[in-house]
Symmetry: C2
Subunit: 444 residues, 2 copies
């Protein structure tokens, strides 16, 4: 029986046109990162499962991870995300290096998912993190995200960054509504899933969690905050009715305060203004990010196209990345951007360049058998200067040579005839006779 | 219990200095390939195990492969080599595209090996293949190999390419010695392992396989051929004693002939001469490559350093890559070069550049709190021109700022003082006062 020619379900074959597109996307990621002085890193494609047990949500481990036992009885997994790896690596070196640490990577990851638009089993994810920089780091990551999107030709018409702050969310959930951390986390997940359920169901679930009609109303006021102006009005109204010390009554632990829970959100929007990226950023209370470890800024980059209204990337700030390694706390801010939703975004907005043909400098061939050695010599010498040169093998028939030349984007065609060497400039449709020396040394 | 900070056995963490080195190595691979008009491709990191069963040797499947059963009961493996994937991909498109097809990739692969010098469980391997180009393809792959090695600064003093031809080996093993294809394959493996066993053991094994003292002598003469001059003498001597038609008597299948089995080796050395790479290439009868699918040129790139006398890369020509897919035959020539032995080679010969510090354009900081906004503006504007700019956060103390600047290679330091903006050219140790406009627009 003949073997299947298809790739494994949920993975892709990258033919040259696809690979040039992928290289373009990765190149822009590297360039934007390096403009912000982020340094490249990578880790292994396999990690021990324990690392994910300690760091990630249960869903990832139970349903989505590719794990197996190796020949030495170790339980290992193909990396489903990069954060545990970067935490493991930073834990090795954070004591010796100057802060902040700015790192980026573009690893291939695997998750056992049902393949669908924007989601595959194997994909690449851009990761950028900054450690030990406080709120400056939060804003820099947003700036980097904006610059990266702009480098693909995207503008504020194509995307927006929706921002929230876990400290502010805690102020509302714990301080105002008076939830304990446990129900607060459940409320995060509920907000996260808001757009995936009917409004009535959402309202009912909220009432179950808050156990109080008045508290449910506070929650509803919160989820309807559409801008920072709304946030300011909301906060001012609260403080005209209740003092902060009153709020403390609602809860037993993790005290909330104006300086610790509201000021950072105000500060970040001031800094966003100063960094010149306001036009791309909007407050959105529904961005909370399900994962437990976020403790400050949380954000998602959204496609504004009505038919592709989805998150392309997400990230946030965490107070302590290194906890699971028993290391001294190190705060950080990170973002992850998948190449699959990004490509969908670029294609949707017609921002993806055409990579169907390779860009080459020369096609070199011989129209007579005696010219073959000269053609080889020309190709070899042109490559010395870094030119991209394809040698047309054997004794080329002119018709075949020219028809082949149209399959790729060559700048020049060179063909050796019985008596001379011809150089054709493809764009200018101009043909001249040249000597071997003019051709191969003229470019110096 | 705290988690381990080490990577999984046989894999590596690439910290920025390591990653810059890896990027350098990969960049040269891409550039050399593109100078020869090879196009990039990639496949999935997982393939179905069946693909390797059909294509690879038993050793790979039984002992070295990372395989497991997925949640959908499919038997899958992390790719241990790229050839089966490239065969699968080419099988999809070879009917529609112009020949020759020139492709390259730099995939990460995994093999369950005992980690040792030059060998790890996870590694990257450069793969270049040309399909449908006959002996022109054989020479082009060798040329590409030479150019790639030269692009790292290596010369004929550092490496050599040892070349043999399976057709010639078959002429000796099947035509002269009269072995059937089965014992011939065993003899390939014996030659492959020659340098790993005592000479007496090798001689004894040969006698068992050839079953004849006279034939063993022919074989010994073959393995002692040290150059193409030796080959010519060996062949001439044979033909002065025996006619080709006589040789056919020795065997039952796969007839050998001068035109089919000796001429190609002579031809390839002529073409090597014409391509100007003779100084890097040497005939070596002990290069046969264990794998079954090679049918023409076989070669290995060897480190000439006496303490690192090992193969860095290997490859060869195969008559039919697509057999397992029931497709029409397509011949090809390929090479694989592992980044682990290549890095050892470059380090051994002191050819690896220093990547310990990142190369950046500007470090920008404010020596007074009122200067922070200006510093942010400068950094943002400098990045517009593509400069790599690190913003020193907060109110920088001069001493801290300058001492930090030495941890990385900055071209310029910019610092905002109470009244002015200073620009320091690090290499020239020159400091000037500049306006924001001069600094951020002067570069256009």
């Amino acid at each position: 029986m003949a073997l299947s020619k298809s790739p494994y379900r949920g993975t892709r074959d990258f033919f040259p046109k696809d690979m040039r597109g992928r290289n373009y996307i990765f190149q822009k990621m590297a360039e934007a990162s390096e403009r912000f002085a982020y340094e490249p890193y990578d880790g292994p494609m396999l990690e021990e499962v324990n690392l994910y047990r300690a760091k990630s949500g249960d869903e990832l481990i139970n349903d989505q991870i590719y794990s197996f036992t190796d020949r030495g009885e170790r339980e290992v997994a193909i990396r489903p995300e990069m954060t545990p790896t970067v935490a493991r690596m930073v834990a090795q070196i954070h004591r010796e290096v100057a802060k902040p640490i700015r790192w980026y990577a573009i690893p291939n990851l695997m998750r056992y998912e049902k393949p669908q638009r924007g989601r595959l089993r194997e994909f690449w994810q851009y990761n950028a993190d900054i450690f030990g920089a406080g709120q400056n780091g939060e804003v820099e990551i947003l700036q980097l995200a904006v610059e990266l999107m702009k480098s693909y030709g995207a503008t504020g018409e194509h995307f927006e960054i929706l921002v929230n702050d876990r400290r502010f969310v805690d102020f509302v959930f714990e301080g105002l509504i008076g939830l304990e951390p446990g129900p607060t986390k459940k409320l995060y997940k509920l907000v996260d899933a808001k757009n995936k359920m009917p409004l009535e169901k959402f309202a009912a679930e909220v009432r179950i969690l808050t156990e109080d009609e008045g508290k449910a109303k506070v929650f509803e006021a919160f989820v309807n905050l559409g801008s920072m102006a709304d946030v300011r009005r909301f906060v001012d109204e609260i403080f005209s009715n209740v003092s902060v010390s009153d709020m403390h009554h609602f809860k037993s632990s993790a005290p909330v305060s104006v300086s610790g829970n509201i000021a950072p959100l105000y500060k970040i929007f001031e800094m966003i203004e100063a960094a010149g990226i306001s036009e791309y950023v909007r407050f959105d209370p529904s961005i909370v990010r399900g994962l437990d470890y976020y403790t400050g800024l949380v954000f998602e980059i959204f496609d504004k196209h009505p038919e592709n209204r989805r998150a392309i990337a997400g990230g946030g700030a965490y107070a302590n990345l290194l906890q699971i390694f028993d290391e001294t706390p190190l705060e950080g801010v990170g973002m992850g951007l998948g190449e699959v939703p990004l490509t969908d975004f670029l294609v949707t907005h017609k921002l993806m360049p055409d990579f169907s043909k390779p860009e080459l400098d020369y096609l070199v061939g011989a129209f007579v058998p005696e010219g073959e050695a000269t053609a080889t010599e020309i190709a070899t010498k042109l490559r010395v200067h870094g030119s991209k040169v394809e040698l047309f093998f054997g004794d080329a028939k002119p018709k075949k040579f020219f028809s082949y030349s149209e399959k790729k984007n060559f700048k020049y065609l060179v063909f050796v005839t019985e008596s001379e060497i011809k150089l054709r400039n493809v764009a200018m449709r101009a043909e001249t006779t040249v000597t071997l020396q003019e051709l191969t040394e003229g470019k110096r």
